[in-house]
């Protein structure tokens, strides 16, 4: 199948690959997906005063999954978590021109950012921002 130029760009030059210290109070971690399904995303955010200062990801999955998570880390940097939690998979799919069989990659990226925000909020007694969907995995 042919990949869009944006998917190829994120795949070849992924933004923000790496890890943050998940025990740090200012860090929220979301891990979604399953090896059995062929994709697992780990997305981490560092939050100060409700604003995402840094975002990192690691993804096991196809090129579209890598691109979706890379794109989301780019988007959320500098965003308030109340804004970031509203990111929809359709926006990701549209930006990357994902074909129908790859829509699940964008869904996973949406789940990952929501899970990371929820993890951060849980560390802070759910005080900052609204509650996100419960789709995280405890490691």
């Amino acid at each position: 199948m042919a990949y869009s130029t944006k998917v190829i760009d994120h795949y070849e030059n992924p933004r923000n690959v790496g890890s943050l210290d998940k025990s740090d109070d200012t860090v929220g971690t979301g891990i979604v997906g399953a090896p059995a399904c062929g994709d697992v995303m780990k997305l981490q955010i560092r939050v100060e005063d409700g604003v995402i200062q840094d975002a990192k990801f690691k993804t096991y999955g196809c090129g579209s999954a890598i691109a979706s998570s890379s794109l989301v880390t780019e988007w959320v940097k500098g965003m308030h978590i109340d804004e970031a939690v509203k990111i929809q998979n359709s926006q990701i799919a549209e930006e990357l021109s994902l074909p129908p069989v790859k829509i699940h990659c964008s869904v996973l990226a949406e789940d990952a950012i929501k899970a990371a925000i929820k993890d951060y909020q849980d560390k802070h007694g759910g005080s900052a921002g609204e509650n996100a969907d419960d789709s995280s995995v405890a490691v």
Partner: protein
Amino acid sequence: MSVKTPIYLDYAATCPVDPRVVEVMLPCFTENYGNAASRTHVFGWRSEEAVEAARIEIARTINADPKEITFTSGATESNNLAIKGIAEYLAEKGRHIITVVTEHKAVLDACKHLERKGYDVTYLPVNTDGLVTAEQVAEAIRPDTILVSIMFANNETGVVQPIAELGKLCHERKVMFHTDAVQAFGKIPIDVQEMGIDLMSISAHKIYGPKGVGALYVRRRRPRVRLSPQVHGGGHERGNRSGTLNVPGIVGFGEAARIARESMKEESERIFGIREHLRKRFIAEIPHSIVNGTLESHLPGTLNISFAYVEGESLLMGLKDIAVSSGSACTSASLEPSYVLRAMGLNDELAHSSLRITIGRQTTLEEVDYVADRVKEQVERLREMSPLWEMVQDGIDLDSIQWTPH
């Protein structure tokens, strides 16, 4: 490095047509274009002669009589003709068929079709090597069993089944034995007499012949195998398969079979040497590389290997100047990885991480060295990006994690 890209290493999918094959085919399009069934003029006679010469070459390659070769449009049709044709012809005798879970879809789907028609099909499992045993088949045979269909060599893994043992057993138990030999034909020696094969599907385009032509070997003696045709019409191919013969295709198939037979020993040794060179480099240079399927009973040119913690499709994307295939199925709606690898007991993660590399007539050592370098580079890059790899480095057991399947 001076290798020419893209590099083709997907010979199990199809092959380029050998220039010698093209050469013998060309006159069939423009000069010797007669219908092989035309008995009234020289155009027809010439075509018939050319078809019969091809039939002899193909028969000789498998130690068969030329009359036992029925030309078809390819191995999918051959598999359908063998399975449905026997099932229909022997319906009065019994309605039980035995096959294996790792068969090609052309066999499995023909069997599924028969199940809907009231037949009973036993799908035997394979062991972790990818093998089925004669004992398993012996235990599965019932008084109403009419057919055993087990592939010669697997298309994904290259694992070769114990065909001679299976053939002997089926003859002792008076059950028809069909084998889909698409991957094995022309690559390793096949003797239908010694191996007790009653029906065998073969294809031209896997042995450097043209696409759209194949054959079904149908035994004529001890026992005489009869089947119900699935394509009706002018009674071509002794009534087994009607339809005007694809003369250029058949002529090309014959030449491809001749070349394969005459160069088999030398070529398989060369190809095996290249594959082993590649396999040894992977094992030595990329940790957590796992070869899928036993190498003890195996085709010379096929290598199925998993690079753990890296998803196959993303790896293919990084190897854009190299043509190989993956056991991952991220492109299909089901997201199910290879059913062949899963049947061998591979976990889903390793199945998703597999590549199938097949070496062929044109492959050089320089090409596979380039491939080994690129694969190593991409696996390392993708592992740096893989949360699974990170967890494993941190000593976390991936099986201990509660994942969220989606």
